[in-house]
């Protein structure tokens, strides 16, 4: 049986709009297994972005607990949480979220700098990863000099560089055309299959969800259904 890498226990996230409290997540409980490919799906306003922020340790729940590798994230201070996040989770954003003033190489190396890697090791690792995503010849290009697909590949490289166990992808193909989108999904799939990464993908697109092994459907801040797609299995 696969070990649990992340667990949400009765997680609530409540936003305060003036006098009114608006619950975005209402008592979510779910376990994510290590090495799984999970799609969190739901319509706009279903709470999937809130859930992604919590799973990504970018935010803490109003109530309930989130355990990442058995560590209660609410118990960590901001700096410890940042380092823990940096080591454990790699982010892929819809809008790539690259730093415009830095080259592809600098963007990808940045997480290693925050984790205080040795300069030489960091540079070697960065080159390896950029080559892996097929950007070995565009390392010193700035984001503005790259296409959308290439930027997303830089973003994927950045998410992989510190060798995290979890890759958290927020609408990873949302800004790409269908062909490039498919390439990105294939890349995620290979990471899942070949490198054993836990992939958590947040999307509103049911077609993308087909790539995932486990589907968590959200509606109005609650889990509607958790299903496994047995057609999607590691080869």
């Amino acid at each position: 049986m696969m070990e649990t890498i992340m667990e949400l226990q009765d997680v609530w996230k409540i936003y305060r709009m003036g006098e009114v409290e608006v619950p975005a997540l209402k008592g979510i409980s779910v376990k994510i297994k290590k090495g799984d490919f999970v799609a969190i799906i739901g319509a706009s306003g279903s709470g999937k972005s809130t859930m992604m922020n919590l799973i990504g340790c970018l935010d803490i729940p109003s109530r309930g607990n989130i355990y990442l590798k058995s560590q209660d994230i609410s118990s960590l201070g901001e700096s410890d949480l940042a380092s823990f996040r940096g080591r454990t989770i790699g982010f892929i954003f819809q809008q790539y979220n690259l730093i415009q003033s830095m080259s592809a190489f600098e963007n990808v190396m940045l997480p290693l700098e925050f984790l205080e890697y040795n300069d030489q090791k960091a540079a070697t690792r960065t080159r390896e990863i950029l080559t892996l995503v097929g950007l070995g010849d565009k390392m010193h290009h700035r984001p503005t000099q790259l296409s959308g697909g290439q930027q997303q590949r830089v973003s994927i490289a950045r998410s992989l560089v510190s060798d995290p166990e979890i890759i958290l992808a927020d609408e990873p193909t949302g800004a790409l055309d269908s062909v490039t989108g498919r390439e990105v999904l294939d890349m995620l799939r290979r990471l899942w299959e070949e490198q054993g990464k836990t992939i958590i993908m947040v999307t509103h697109d049911l077609n993308l969800a087909k790539y995932a092994h486990t589907r968590i459907e959200l509606k109005d801040g609650e889990i509607l259904k958790i299903s496994e797609n047995n057609e999607v299995n590691k080869k």
Binding site: S83, N97, I99, S101, M102, P111, E113, F114, L115, S162
Partner: protein
């Protein structure tokens, strides 16, 4: 993140917001340049004064009639010039220095030499041209040993001299159409004098034996002196010697401490008074320069706040990929410090250039004559001040940046 990396990212931030950073840097440049220029002029004047203090007879004491400190340079004789005065002692109206004072001082073991002086304004003619200059009658037997002036050409006054004078450099070279050379004859209040020496200075002074001065300066009475210039034996005992002189004169003049009708001033005191005036002037100017530095620092704070706003999303990205609060804090603090440092360095360069011109611009002010000196001290001070100003101005924006929640920062557009 390591400090080296933080500073690298901070430097990149400066490079990537060129115009705004340079505008902010300009503010600091002006502030630092002003401080450097003013401090260097202050240091220059201080050094000139110190040099004067060391060379211009720290062992010379001037005694003048009248209670005002340093007063009576040109005599403080009341009652219409005292032409009818019968003796050296003060009458009810006149306060003068006379032979009895001189005799009293001669009995003091502290004193090496005493020069008796009288001063006045006279008409001087040379080759048909006439002007008005100040003449000092000196005791030619001791003058050469007491005076701080040096002879450029010719000789000083001799004990046997009668109708001879020593003149200031300016009077010799440019006061009249034709320069006055050695052994030339000039007419002073109808009496003819031969020039025997020219001083190495830029004055129009005339020095002559005191006996001759009594004849040419109007309203002067023999054995009444405007000042007594005393050279004391031991410069290190200056204060004690001044005190002894005062005591001796109080006895001879029958006055008490409260009613002292003369003043004893040392050159050192005069220079110190001048230095004090100059110091307050420098402080005042420095305060004005400091204001521009404060304005510059507000500029840095403003730029940093704008930069934090502009980079909110980037801060969110950095935090998402593992940046800790202190990493963000350091990057922004280094950014502010860089602005301060670059501003400081450019300010020092500009300030040094300015300080070269300033003495010329301030030439009219006698205190400003001299060279401006940019010392290592003022450079270190300017650099540390500009960097500190940068860091201080950057603290709040940097703290604000470091405290941004990653989820909020990522959402910022």
């Amino acid at each position: 993140m390591k400090l080296k990396k933080c500073s690298k990212h901070a430097f990149n931030m400066v490079l990537h917001s060129k115009l705004r950073s340079w505008l902010t840097i300009t503010g600091i440049v002006i502030g630092v340049a002003a401080v450097i220029a003013i401090v260097s002029i202050g240091d220059g004047m201080q050094q000139t004064l110190n040099a004067q203090l060391n060379t211009l007879g720290g062992d010379i004491v001037t005694i003048s009639p009248g209670a005002e400190r340093g007063g009576g340079m040109f005599g403080m004789r009341g009652g219409g010039g005292g032409g009818g005065s019968s003796g050296p002692q003060a009458t009810t109206k006149e306060i003068v220095l006379g032979r009895s004072d001189l005799q009293a001082l001669k009995g003091l073991s502290d004193i090496a030499l005493i020069d008796t002086n009288i001063r006045g304004s006279v008409n001087i003619s040379y080759f048909g041209k006439t002007g008005k200059v100040s003449v000092t009658g000196v005791d030619q037997k001791v003058w050469s040993q007491i005076t701080t002036s040096t002879i450029q050409t010719g000789r000083t006054l001799d004990s046997a001299d009668q109708n001879v004078i020593v003149i200031g450099g300016n009077l010799a070279s440019s006061y009249f159409d034709q320069p006055i050379g050695i052994n030339k004859m000039v007419t002073i209040n109808s009496a003819a004098f031969r020039v025997v020496g020219i001083l190495d200075d830029q004055t129009t002074s005339v020095y002559m034996p005191i006996q001759m001065a009594y004849q040419v300066i109007p309203d002067k009475t023999t054995d009444i002196y405007d000042t007594l210039v005393v050279k004391i034996k031991d410069q290190n005992q200056l204060d004690a010697s001044i005190s002894n002189i005062q005591d001796k004169l109080m006895i001879s003049r029958h006055v008490t401490q409260n009613k002292m009708d003369f003043s004893v001033t040392s050159r050192k005191e005069m220079q110190q008074a001048r230095a004090a005036t100059m110091n307050s002037m420098s402080t005042f100017l420095l305060a004005i320069a400091a204001v521009s530095l404060i304005v510059g620092s507000i500029g840095i704070a403003n730029t940093m706040f704008t930069s934090v706003l502009e980079k909110t999303k980037e801060i969110g990205i950095m935090k998402a990929i593992g940046a800790r609060n202190q990493d963000i804090l350091l990057i922004f603090l280094f950014n502010a410090a860089f602005i301060g440092l670059v501003g400081g360095i450019l300010g020092i360069i500009l300030g040094t250039m300015l300080s070269g011109f300033m003495p010329a611009l301030m030439g009219g002010l006698p205190m400003a004559r001299g060279t401006a000196i940019v010392t290592l001290n003022s450079i270190t001070m300017a650099l540390s001040v500009s960097v500190s100003v940068g860091i201080l101005a950057g603290i709040i924006p940097a703290y604000q940046a470091s405290k941004l929640k990653p989820v909020d920062a990522l959402r910022y557009e």
